[in-house]
């Protein structure tokens, strides 16, 4: 406990500290409970292939899987569920099971199986963060694992083809989102005013869906229609992942400002250039030849135009 614990996980993008659901769950829980975690991203290392993420590296053991990591943190006195009643603790377990069964297959499908999303968003992201030559192999392996999982758990007969399975899992996922939205209602977190482990799990599942720029995201559209859940995600990001020195959002803001400045400078330069070009053109011989034909009118027009702005 004296030495900070190290968490190895996937890196972040789109305003999130990590785009991997399970890593995000652990990070959110750590933030809620105040545990100090040293984040070690596995991008650009060979651990992308061999390691299971997220993994909490302790001195003598490695803990994987979000549920086990959360249990470990709880035992180390980083417990945010301390104030929950027994019934609320039971509800937590039940809602996590609901997320796993109903929402997770559709999320896997959205990111890994849907052809447009996979080729435009997921695969380039993961391929750009794995070392050569893994970048050819790793995304395909994860995609086939995702497809396998969906088919094995949800694709029992008579739903033989993937299109029928898709219809079922998306309708299940939409219903799950509706149920979560009903349960959350207007409150800030699921159990009162302080976040708990259920909030961490829901955030981990929903945040990538909320923030990613997906070309074909029917589930994302559905999520956008549930303002309570969208606000829930944004709230957690702005409260817990901005102030801290994780640096993603402030850096993001700075880059946005810097970009804006550069853009305005460019625009100014362009307009200066255009003015110069305009002057050059007006003083060029060809232009003068044309101008001589209607020189009077144009001279008068120029004089008037030069005088009116001033």
């Amino acid at each position: 406990m004296a030495t900070p614990m190290e968490l190895s996980c996937w890196g972040g993008d789109w305003g999130l500290p990590s785009i991997h659901t399970e890593s995000l769950i652990v990070m959110a829980y750590a933030k809620f409970s105040g545990a100090e975690l040293k984040i070690q991203t596995i991008d650009w290392t060979w651990k992308t292939l061999t390691g299971t993420v997220p993994a909490l590296n302790l001195e003598d053991a490695v803990v994987t899987k979000p549920v086990h990591i959360v249990n470990y943190l709880r035992k180390q006195k980083y417990n945010v569920d301390y104030d929950l009643t027994a019934k609320q603790g039971a509800d937590t377990l039940a809602y996590i099971a609901l997320l796993e069964e109903k929402l997770h297959p559709a999320l896997l499908h959205t990111f890994w199986v849907d052809a447009e999303n996979y080729s435009n968003v997921t695969r380039p992201w993961f391929a750009s963060r794995t070392p050569f030559p893994l970048n050819f192999y790793l995304p395909c392996r994860q995609a086939s694992a995702a497809l396998n999982r969906i088919l094995l758990t949800k694709g029992e007969p008579p739903l033989h083809s993937i299109t029928e399975v898709e219809a079922k899992i998306y309708s299940d996922a939409k219903e799950c989102l509706n149920l979560l939205s009903h349960r959350l209602g207007t409150s800030q977190y699921f159990f009162g005013n302080k976040p708990t482990s259920l909030d961490a799990f829901v955030f981990g599942f929903l945040a990538p869906l909320h923030k990613a720029h997906l070309p074909s995201g029917q589930l994302q559209q559905h999520l956008k229609q549930l303002p309570s859940l969208a606000n829930f995600c944004d709230n957690i990001i702005s409260t817990y992942f901005v102030q801290n020195g994780l640096g993603l959002s402030p850096a993001g803001q700075d880059t946005v400002d810097a970009n804006l400045q550069k853009l305005t400078q460019l625009v100014n330069k362009e307009s200066n250039l255009i003015e110069k070009m305009d002057d050059n053109l007006r003083s060029s011989p060809q232009h003068r030849a044309r101008r001589s034909t209607n020189s009077n009118a144009s001279l008068v027009a120029e004089e008037s135009s030069s005088s009116t702005p001033a």
């Binding site: 019934k87 603790g89 039940a94 099971a97 609901l98 109903k102 094995l152 219809a167 998306y170 299940d172």
Partner: protein
């Protein structure tokens, strides 16, 4: 074709998750009343049926009794193959065949009987969440113990599963089913679990259910719902089934309110009906000596 599937999916969206093909048919038959000769099919009770299948079958029987709908339990060796989804139990009502608790609940709702109408949205969300908890943890644990634990698989599961068939079909079918279940466990990440971890999960699930139930008679106070039927099905089966070790039953017995819950449902819904109920062929809660 995908368009009509999506249309069906949106039409039945309010009714909950379902196979969109089947619910299209179900709405057609909604007008017919419940016939007298409705039948529920399950594998052979004494020799063949396994822990997980018996739990599912009992859950459906409990639900039907709670709705006061008469059904005859028919045991067939090939029930699994007759079922439209490959899962038991399934009910044969009129000219409709529906399998698994989820679709059966909706089918019955389409006929006008429902136990969860009085719940508000938040309670319905909770009920669905708890049903998923039971499916996710209890059912998966049952499947794991039956098929992935080598002792149980060798001594109990494979012999029972293949009992109606002759050599060599019995070996082929048993190993094929075992391979399928192990593949599924690997896909969801349970393959790396030890038996102790699985027992620990069962214990956690029972603790959650016990805390949710508290001192109430049913999960949503006065009236039973499909959640009560599902929980009863699984817990009663676990308590009355003897496996290679008693540890699974012991985990459930730690929670006295769950025991009294099972007893209450058994007394209210199963004892005042025909003699050939579950209590005659399986033993009572206090003596669990029925070899599965």
């Amino acid at each position: 074709m995908p368009n009509c599937l999506f249309l069906c999916a949106t039409l039945v969206h309010y009714a909950g998750p379902s196979y969109s093909n089947y619910t299209f048919h179900l709405f057609h038959s909604a007008a017919e009343p419940w016939p007298e000769n409705a039948a529920l099919y399950q594998p052979l009770k004494d020799d063949q049926i396994l822990l997980s299948d018996h739990a599912s079958s009992l859950a459906v029987q409990a639900y039907l009794r709670m709705c006061n709908l008469p059904v005859q339990v028919v045991c067939r060796a090939n029930a699994e193959y007759m079922s439209p989804s490959g899962k038991v139990p399934f009910i044969h009502v009129g000219n409709q065949v529906v399998s698994e608790l989820g679709p059966i609940v909706q089918f019955i709702k389409a006929k006008g009987h429902s136990l969860s109408d009085g719940l508000d949205e938040v309670q319905k969300a909770e009920m669905k969440a708890y049903m998923e908890l039971v499916n996710n943890m209890l059912l998966t644990a049952e499947l794991y113990i039956q098929w992935c634990d080598e002792n149980t698989a060798k001594e109990i599961t494979r012999p029972r599963f293949s009992s109606p068939y002759t050599w060599p079909l019995n070996h082929v079918l048993a190993y094929q089913k075992q391979w399928e279940v192990r593949r599924k466990m690997k896909a969801i990440g349970w393959a790396g679990k030890t038996l102790d971890q699985v027992y620990e999960d069962v214990s956690q699930c029972c603790q959650a259910l016990s805390q949710r139930l508290g001192t109430q008679p049913y999960f949503f106070n006065k009236q039973p719902t499909e959640l009560d039927a599902l929980v009863f099905g699984h817990l009663f089966t676990i308590l009355t089934t003897q496996l290679t070790s008693d540890e699974l039953g012991e985990k459930v017995k730690n929670y006295s309110n769950l025991l009294s819950f099972c007893r209450r449902i058994e007394q209210n819904y199963f004892e005042d009906h025909d003699k050939d109920s579950i209590t005659s062929s399986t033993s009572r809660l206090s003596k669990g000596s029925f070899l599965m």
